[in-house]
């Protein structure tokens, strides 16, 4: 009997190892390891070959020859285009995050304060659009924003404007698209934070004479800090590298890093330069990603 229990324990221990190892190995192989290869190729030289870059390590005269090439990074500092693209992307991400928060916070607040039975249907309504094709919803904005599109037609018909507004292919269109696409990512973490708040705190503050707005700023808002951080990171970080929305809604003069990387890779076929661009973007995003990860870990531990 004791032996049996021993065996059972052993096989459980064994099973545990597998449960940990399989997803870890998969993610290391297909998520973490690729970054090392990006690092390697960022220091290679572009070549007209398949694959289009030089080998970092080669055998020449029976000796290993380590060939590290810094040219890609030097090139990035020489052309203003790249610095502009990084700064534009960061600005775009910051402004879009702000507007997502501005619209998303009251929405999340409204859902969290609704009757429990209606909360789930309201959440569903927020999520439903994000389950239909993202690409097609961005495409819909082209039809709305262009100079003879729905918005201009309505505004001209009602007499608000006399001439069509040029919105498509400007930064405004890009902002509209990004806020539109990323709004649910802001609302969800805010909602799951706000819904956990203890309402008696608000009541207590009001019994003590606080006005509605006062108790919001002094109680609800500080308590929702975690939700704000999570939502903002879920919007800010991916938007820095956003490609599809600036490509479809922004004009040729909206230069963001996602677009530049795409062009270097697909149009110029300069894989090493694209890798260098990705590497720098990754370095910039390291801090917010670390922040996000720490935060996620806390969430994971907290309500256990």
């Amino acid at each position: 009997m004791n032996k049996l229990i021993e065996r059972l324990k052993l096989s459980t221990e064994h099973g545990k190892k597998w449960v940990i190892a399989v997803p870890t190995l998969w993610l290391v192989l297909f998520f973490a390891l690729p970054f090392l290869i990006v690092l390697k190729i960022a220091f290679a030289e572009a070549e007209i070959a398949i694959p289009p870059y030089t080998a970092l390590l080669s055998m020449a005269d029976q000796a290993f020859d380590l060939h590290v090439y810094f040219g890609n990074f030097i090139f990035l500092t020489e052309d203003d285009l790249y610095l502009t693209a990084y700064l534009n992307s960061l600005e775009m991400a910051a402004i879009s995050t702000f507007f997502c928060l501005l619209i998303g916070y009251p929405m999340a607040y409204f859902i969290a304060r609704a009757k429990p039975s209606t909360q789930s249907i309201l959440l569903l309504l927020i999520l439903l659009p994000s389950w239909t094709s993202f690409l097609i919803r961005i495409y819909a904005w082209i039809g709305i924003l262009k100079s003879n599109g729905v918005l201009n037609n309505v505004l001209m018909w009602t007499g608000v404007i006399n001439e069509p507004l040029a919105i498509l292919n400007t930064n405004i269109a890009v902002y509209i698209g990004i806020v539109y696409a990323y709004l649910p990512f802001m609302v969800l973490p805010l909602y799951s934070n706000l819904v956990k708040h203890d309402y008696s705190l608000i009541e207590a503050s009001q019994d003590l004479g606080a006005r509605r707005l006062q108790s919001f700023w002094h109680i609800t808002f500080p308590l929702s800090r975690n939700g704000i951080v999570a939502g903002s990171m879920l919007v800010f970080i991916p938007v820095v590298g956003e490609y599809v929305i600036p490509e479809l809604l922004g004009g040729t003069n909206s230069i963001v890093i996602g677009k530049v990387l795409w062009q270097e890779f697909f149009n110029n076929r300069d894989w090493p330069l694209a890798s260098a661009l990705a590497l720098i973007m990754l370095l910039i995003l390291m801090v917010p990603i670390h922040f996000f990860r720490k935060h996620q870990e806390k969430e994971w531990e907290s309500d256990k």
Binding site: L8, T12, K16, I20, V22, P23, T24, F31, A32, P34, I37, V38, I41, P51, I103, G104, P106, M107, Y109, F110, I111, R113, S120, L124, L128, P129, W131, T132, S133, F134, L135, I136, R137, Y139, A140, I142, I144, K146, N148, L183, L213, I237, P238, V240, G241, V244, E247, L248, G258, W262, F265, A278, M281, P288, I289, F292, R293, Q296, W300, D303
Partner: protein, 271 residues
């Protein structure tokens, strides 16, 4: 009290209008007779016919569904394991690494994931000869990878709040941990598994950037096809396709919502 509620209500319905207006305009213009998307020329369903006759687009649809199906299966399987490890095993070596590996893909920009995975596949072909060429297989690997992160978030948040006493009862009655997990835990977390699967499926069905990097000749998925046709110009066929997608998603959502509500009501009655 009133003013703040009213403000959030106004913002909520404004946000809703913002989210649904584009979808409404897609649906309306899919029934437009005219080729020009902005000029109304009367009701017609001819673009739906055109859509189904477009063989390139239709085969892309099937390809995408296939990739999404397998990506979702893989992601849910890996997600279950990762969630169990993170919520059930306490402290173990590599726990914090697994945390990072699950959290980072949630926010990592698509262009970085796509580029780095492509470079990995190219190097692998060089070193071990697999994958021989890039295609649906490489898209499946890429999608399964980032969907695993989302699936893990959904599943682990359910596993966390699960009452452990059921599991302990089963094990007291002699079930092995694996048997207890399959017969007790899995049925309870089934709704979370379904929503993790659906989320992975739609994420895979939606991805254009990563798929563009890792796809090969002959493996054009629906988003890649749509993206190239949108860049060439607006086509009413895309509106028809959008309307069908919106219809299917709404019906599935409604069905899931209705089923879960009925289950909830039954549980209430049972109590």
């Amino acid at each position: 009290m009133k003013t703040s509620i009213r403000f959030s209500a106004v913002m909520f319905w404004f946000g809703m209008a913002f989210l649904y207006l584009p979808m409404l305009s897609l649906i309306i213009y899919s029934f437009n007779e005219s080729r020009l998307v902005t000029v109304w020329a009367g009701w017609s369903t001819k673009w739906y016919g055109e859509l189904f006759r477009d063989e390139g687009l239709m085969s892309a649809v099937w390809r995408s569904l296939e990739v999404a199906f397998w990506s979702a299966n893989t992601a849910v399987l890996l997600g279950i394991m990762a969630s169990v490890a993170l919520t059930r095993f306490g402290k173990f070596r590599g726990r914090s690494m697994l945390h990072s590996l699950v959290a980072a893909p949630l926010v990592m920009p698509d262009v970085i994931i796509g580029l780095s995975l492509l470079l990995l596949f190219v190097s692998m072909t060089d070193v071990i000869g697999w994958p021989e060429q890039r295609g649906l297989m490489t898209i499946w690997v890429a999608h399964a990878t980032f969907c695993t992160a989302y699936a893990t978030v959904v599943i682990s948040s359910r596993l966390k709040e699960l009452d452990r006493s059921y599991l302990e009862a089963a094990m007291d009655l002699g079930a092995t941990p694996l048997k207890a997990f399959i017969q007790v835990t899995l049925p309870i977390i089934m709704p979370a598994l379904v929503s993790a699967w659906l989320l992975s499926f739609t994420l895979s069905l939606d991805d254009v950037v990563i798929a563009s990097f890792v796809s090969g000749p002959g493996s054009t998925t629906l988003p890649i096809e749509v993206f190239s046709s949108v860049r060439l110009g607006v086509s009413p066929k895309i509106n028809a396709l959008a309307t069908i997608i919106i219809l299917i998603v709404s019906l599935v959502t409604l069905a899931v919502w209705w089923l879960s509500r009925r289950k909830l009501q039954r549980e209430k009655l049972a109590k």
